[in-house]
């Protein structure tokens, strides 16, 4: 464990904790950005340049924006006033522990632990590209399918929530007097007199 | 020995302060960004002053900032009505120090031709400290440029320290002024007695 990794890990964990514990949802989202950056730094620390920058591009640049918009769909990111600890915490903690235990077990069982560290490969973007387009071409197509499905799914959900604009314009009610009958259209003016 | 050393040290400090003061004033006076708002007729001449013929930009002052936070100069250009006065004072309050006020035109100074009106404030100096007055109805664009240079001279003459330093450098001096409220017949209060007192009147000879 190098010093750089320790720093990065500390940063990531603290930011993640902040994201969890802060009261204001927007603050949480911003803390999570820091955690994302930390993860990206961890990738860079492992010399996974492409993944590291992709992590920043996708998570900091896009996912955070998504989260921020989601937060703004609630009211201004103000968390509801309730106690910080609740019963769901117990459940959450339990699940987290279980996941951690499983991972730890898997890693302990893994053969990687026993092997001598290999010389780190010098992976260029080009190699990634070639691998992606040859060995992993099927997964790529699956991902494409998945992304499209996600796009369509999101659109459908969002469309259900927001009816199309055309519909809204047809429904009418006078703002000031809700009970008012629909508008009185002005009297017809013969076009002959106008031009 | 002690004394001469002290004196030279003081002089050094003095020179430093003078240089700083000059630099400070130079920066302030050459980067006066007006708040982008106009009230009435004079505003058109203010716009004209920033247009090609007169080109306020030559002084570096064409940056009309729409937000009071970023503006340095409030050009009260036009009639301040009683309905508008609270807003003008609030805008002034929301400007960041250092800030200056130019009362442009007769209406802004005294109510001008409309001073007999029931809804017209008889001079913005009832609520705000005015740095420069420009007479005229409306003043020519050159007159605004002239007033602008008058303001620059005023800024250049302000000391950085000492008792005569400008208001915004004095901690005790106010930076915002009370905003008048709408009353049943008039603004309440009709003027701010802190900064405006009716001039005394001597009877006719």
């Amino acid at each position: 464990m190098t010093l750089s990794f320790a720093l990065i890990a500390l940063l990531t964990v603290v930011a993640a904790l902040a994201a969890m514990l802060l009261r204001n949802l927007v603050h949480c989202a911003l803390a999570m950005v820091v955690a994302f950056v930390g993860i990206a730094a961890a990738f860079l620390n492992l010399d996974a340049q492409f993944v590291g920058f992709a992590q920043i591009l996708v998570y900091v640049g896009a996912v955070t924006i998504l989260i921020v918009f989601a937060v703004l769909l609630t009211r201004g990111g103000l968390a509801p006033e309730r106690s910080l600890f609740s019963t769901s915490w117990v459940w959450g903690g339990g699940v987290a522990l279980a996941v951690f235990a499983t991972l730890a077990w898997a890693i302990r069982q893994s053969v990687i632990r026993d092997r001598q560290p290999l010389p780190e490969p010098d992976v260029t973007v080009k190699q990634i590209g070639e691998a992606l387009m040859t060995r992993f071409v099927l997964p790529l197509e699956v991902i494409g399918l998945l992304l499209t499905a996600a796009l369509i799914g999101a659109v459908i959900i969002a469309m259900k929530e927001a009816p199309a604009g055309g519909k809204r314009e047809k429904e009418s009610a006078d703002l000031e007097e809700p009970g008012n009958p629909p508008s009185v259209m002005p009297p017809p003016t013969p076009e002959g007199g106008l031009s | 020995m002690m004394e001469t050393a002290l004196r030279s040290e003081l002089r050094k400090q003095g020179i430093f302060l003078t240089t700083l003061e000059e630099l400070y004033n130079w920066g302030r006076k050459n980067s006066v960004w007006p708040l982008g708002f106009g009230l009435a007729c004079c505003a058109i001449e203010m716009i004209a002053a920033s247009m090609a013929r007169w080109d306020l930009a030559r002084f570096g002052a064409e940056v009309f900032r729409p937000s009071p936070r970023q503006a340095d100069l409030m050009v009260v250009a036009g009639t301040v009505t009683k309905k508008m006065a609270p807003q003008v004072v609030r805008l002034y309050n929301q400007m960041a120090e250092p800030k200056y006020v130019i009362a442009m035109g007769a209406c802004a100074i005294s109510g001008g031709p409309f001073k007999q009106g029931y809804n017209v404030l008889k001079g913005i100096d009832r609520y705000l400290p005015v740095d420069v007055h420009i007479p005229g109805c409306p003043p020519r664009p050159e007159a605004l440029l002239h007033a602008f240079m008058t303001l620059q001279q005023k800024i250049a003459a302000q000391p950085l320290t000492g008792p005569h330093r400008p208001r915004h450098l004095i901690a005790a001096a106010p930076s915002e002024y009370p905003i008048p409220e709408f009353g049943a017949h008039d603004l309440v209060p009709p003027n701010n007695p802190e900064i405006w007192q009716p001039p005394s009147i001597t009877p006719a000879a």
Partner: protein, 202 residues
């Protein structure tokens, strides 16, 4: 719809950009205060009082008739009539303004005072560089600040000044002719009759 209009517009601004280095028409700035735009002859800013001769107090044409004070729409003129009289340019004894103030902070430069003045005494100045930090001290003009010689009037509005001089000269001539006629009549009458009282000044 394919950007043609945008390119046309860009060409127009480019023409102005490059034109501004060569053409007067495309660089219209008057670099005040280094240079000034010549003022039109009719230009008016604020009123002033004309005086004839060298002494501003003696030569003031104003007779404190207070018409301008009454007609001034924003009511920015204040006149106090003198108790005594002094001779005017015609030699007639007239009142004069003991106080004549114009509050330039109120004046709307409408020129109505000039139009209604029957004595060619109040005229419009072209001075506009009056910005000041002192509202009452700098913008309330008293008689002394208002009084300016006829030569000044001639300088700023030559045509009007000539016309106004002509009017005054005509009136003076009329007055003198009248006086001469009166004097002749008096002389005629004086030969047989005792001395008549001098004609009233006002």
């Amino acid at each position: 719809m394919l950007g043609k209009g945008i390119i046309k517009g860009l060409a127009e601004t480019a023409r102005n950009f490059f034109g501004s280095f060569v053409s007067e028409r495309r660089l219209t700035t008057v670099p005040y205060p280094d240079a000034r735009q010549p003022l039109a002859e009719n230009t008016r800013q604020f009123p002033f009082l004309v005086y004839d001769g060298d002494d501003w107090e003696q030569g003031l044409r104003c007779v404190a008739c207070q018409i301008c004070e009454k007609e001034c729409p924003p009511q920015c003129i204040y006149i106090v009539k003198s108790k005594d009289k002094k001779p005017d340019y015609k030699g007639q004894m007239q009142f004069y303004p003991a106080v004549f103030d114009i509050d330039l902070a109120v004046c709307m430069s409408c020129q109505i005072c000039v139009e209604v003045c029957p004595f060619e005494s109040i005229k419009m100045d072209t001075e506009f560089e009056l910005s000041t930090a002192d509202r009452f001290g700098g913008l309330l003009f008293h008689k002394k600040q208002l009084a300016k010689p006829n030569a000044h009037y001639h300088r700023i509005h030559p045509t009007d000044a000539a016309a106004s001089d002509a009017v005054l000269a005509a009136e003076k001539a009329k007055q003198e002719a009248k006086a001469r006629a009166a004097a002749e009549a008096k002389a005629k009458a004086a030969a047989p009759a005792p001395v008549a009282p001098p004609p009233s000044a006002s």
